[in-house]
Every structure is written in structure tokens, then in C-alpha cells.
Symmetry: C2
Subunit: 215 residues, 2 copies
DNA sequence: CATTTTAATGACCGGATCGTCATAAATGTG
DNA sequence: CACATTTATGACGATCCGGTCATTAAAATG
């Protein structure tokens, strides 16, 4: 009966099921990114995945579950990468620059995800079932950066800014710049990453410091 | 037949019609702000206005028209006020501060509007019928500030930042801060307006300048 | 007060879409 | 090959909502 070959503690069936789930999520990410959560239809997702709509429900309970599976996973990935670069040794300016780079890299790698992040975040104000989760994830990102800023203040590299608020300001600066990029406003006239870094770094560095991060 | 009393070039009927339109728009603003454009239903708007749904269509052609009547009017008002404070004499720092004050005042006066602005702006990426309009209005705001920055650069008060991009960055900095305020993240721990001004001004001021705007 | 004109109503239509379920195809089993 | 089990299907039910329209209420008119 269970002659399905077990592979690394999982039956062949479980592996196949996971594969299908992943296939469906890839299709869903595409559709959600193109249309937004509300306007995206499961029919589209099904077509994109080469399946029938009913089949989706063998792997997910609802449209919401699909969305969150995509979203949570990607945010977690982003936070892992942020954490990684922020824990490397280096000055505060370097860390801020590295954190910026992670976000811009992510944008280049996966515009779909950023689009979801940016547009659905606005909706979280309406307090649907996600408002709390969204807010928690967003704050979690800021809490990764805040200690770096605190450290910078202690070391005298930064003036005494409120760490969490400043971290949030930076994240939003990136976020909205990213949204402008998606809107095609910046084109290639300036180096956006460098521009944002300059603006922010000059905004937070200690009074006496030169433009040390301006390489 | 036309015994309706003309008042300042308008018949009594026209005045009443305008009044009804305004009543409906007030109700609509409330509902749109509470639920967002998509989730808001005309049934709710009608109830809020104390009318039947069908009656709304005597005054507006569609849900979209209602939304834009609200949105355009309010943005125009914001731009008028920005233009007014930016054209007053004063240093660049003063003007930036005054521009910030306008936006924060607007937030305090009419949170509903800001909510609409913030949340529906995210959606404009999807290129519905509004994408172009939204973008145009958003850029128009930046174009009010850009000349002030250019003037500041000429006068040597600011370093050579790209004016339009910098104006957009400031607008977004305010916008997202505002959204955090709406989310209840800041509470009253810091003076947000002062915080944003400091961050931005230090980010753009000329190399030699002291924190002149820090009053 | 009778009549005409305007304003208001809410039942209804049409389209969209989430999620279900009886049925069918595919796959595995003996 | 017959049978059982898992996977897939897409028509369908249910719901929601923007917009319409025949009908009713109100207001103006003479």
C-alpha cells in the first residue's frame, strides 16, 4: 500500500504535492503582482498554472491562504538577508548602505514581490484580517535596523535620532522610491540607491562627521 | 414656468442640486475613507447620506466620478495651499518647513482625505483608469517644490541635489510618516514634523551650512 | 384643487467571482 | 485486465454590487 518511495523522510507523494504547491504559488505570485490581491482571480491563477480552478483547492483552502503563503515567505527571506548583511562587521554607514543594497537587489530580482508589498501595504490600514500581520512584519523590518542605529549613536557616528522612527523613515524612503521606480518616474537619470543613501546619511550622521559614506 | 428665484446667477434648483451633491460627497468621503474605493459600496454611501441608492445616480454618473470629485478637489486645495506658502518670501529652509506644515495640517484637519490619498495611490500602479491622473497629480505636487529647491541650490543654501527627485523623496517621506501616524505607530513620543524636517534638511543643506533651520 | 413637472425610491438585472461537488481522468494495485 | 485510490475538472450555487428603470412621492403651477 505504501510502496511509494520515501525520500528524505517524505513519501514520493508528499514531494509531488509540495512541488505542485510551489508551482501554484509561482503562478499566483505572477497574477497577484499584475492585478493586486482583490482584482486577481483564481481563474487566472489556474490558467497561469495550467490547471483548473477546482484543482487549486486541493492544495490551498482559500485565496487568502495563497496570498499569505507568498507574502510571508518573501518577507521572511528579505529579513534573513537584511539580518545577514547587518550583522557583518563594519561602520554604521556601511551597514546602512548594505541594507539599502539588499532592498534594491530584491527589487531587481523580484519586482512582483515588491509590487505586492507596496500596494497591499497601503490596504492594511483598512484593518482587514491582515492589518495586524502586515504591521507586525513591517515593524519587524525596522527592528532589524534600529539596533544598528543605536550602535551608531553610541559610537558617535550618528547624532541622537530616535532609532525605531528613523529606521521606519529609511524603510519608507526606500519603499516609496521603489514605487516611483515601478511607476517609471526615475528612469536612469540618477543613481537612486546612491541618492537615497546620501540623503539619509547626511540626515543622520553626527554633526562633525564628513561625508564618509560618500565613497 | 421659470419662477424659481435666481440667486447670484443660479436658480434655486441649481443651488439645491449643488447642496445635494455636496451632501452626497461628504457621505462618500466618509465611506471611501473607511473602506477604500473598491470595498466601499454605494449602498453604504446612500445610507450614510440618508438617501436611496438610485438617488445617487441623479447627481453622479458613476462611483468613479464620485471618487474623483472628492479626490481632485482635495488635492487641488492642497496644492493651492502649498503654492501659497512657498511663494512667500523667506529662506529655503523656511519654505521647506512651511511646506511640511501644510501637509501635516491637512492631515490633522482631514484624516479621511489623507487616508484616501495614501491607500489609493498604491493602487495606481495597476494602471486602471486613474493611473495617469494620479501620477500627474502626484508629480504636480513635486513640481511646486522643485523650483524652491533649485533656487536654494542657486543661492548656495543647498548642495546640488536633483530637484524633482528630491521633492518626490520629501513628499514620500511625509506621506509614509503620515501613514505610520494613521497606523498609530508614532503616538506622541516624538515631534514627527520636526523629526522629518531635521532629517531632510540635514540631507540636502550645503556642506558648510549649520543647522540653521533647527530653531 | 387638479395637473404637470421634478425628485426619490428600491426591486431588479447583469456580470463577476469565490468556493463546492458530482463526475471523470489518471495512476497505482493485485 | 479489473478494480481501487488519488488527482483533476469545470459546471454550478451562492453572494455581492454597480447601475437601471418603472413606479411612487413631492413640489411647483395655474
Amino acid at each position: 500500500m505504501v510502496s511509494l518511495m520515501p525520500v528524505e523522510g517524505k513519501t514520493r507523494r508528499e514531494v509531488l504535492t509540495e512541488f505542485r504547491r510551489a508551482e501554484i504559488l509561482a503562478a499566483a505570485r505572477k497574477v497577484f503582482a499584475a492585478r493586486g490581491f482583490r482584482a486577481a482571480t483564481l481563474e487566472e491563477v489556474a490558467v497561469e498554472a495550467g490547471l483548473a480552478k477546482g484543482t487549486l483547492y486541493l492544495y490551498f483552502d482559500s485565496k487568502e491562504e495563497m496570498f499569505w503563503a507568498i507574502f510571508r515567505g518573501r518577507v521572511a527571506e528579505m529579513h534573513r538577508r537584511l539580518q545577514a548583511v547587518l550583522s557583518e562587521p563594519g561602520g554604521t554607514a556601511d551597514k546602512i548602505r548594505a541594507g539599502l543594497r539588499v532592498r534594491f537587489e530584491l527589487l531587481r530580482e523580484d519586482q512582483d514581490f515588491m509590487r505586492i508589498y507596496l500596494t497591499e501595504f497601503g490596504q492594511c490600514i483598512y484593518g482587514g484580517p491582515w492589518a495586524k500581520e502586515f504591521r507586525k512584519l513591517h515593524l519587524a523590518g525596522a527592528r532589524l535596523l534600529a539596533p544598528v542605529l543605536e550602535e551608531g549613536i553610541r559610537r558617535g557616528e550618528l547624532r541622537a535620532v530616535p532609532p525605531l522612527e528613523t529606521a521606519l523613515a529609511l524603510m519608507d524612503l526606500v519603499k516609496s522610491t521603489v514605487s516611483l521606480k515601478l511607476l517609471g518616474m526615475h528612469e536612469n537619470r540618477i543613481d537612486v540607491e546612491q541618492f537615497i543613501f546620501d540623503l539619509f546619511w547626511r540626515g543622520v550622521r553626527a554633526e562633525g562627521a564628513a561625508a564618509e559614506g560618500g565613497q
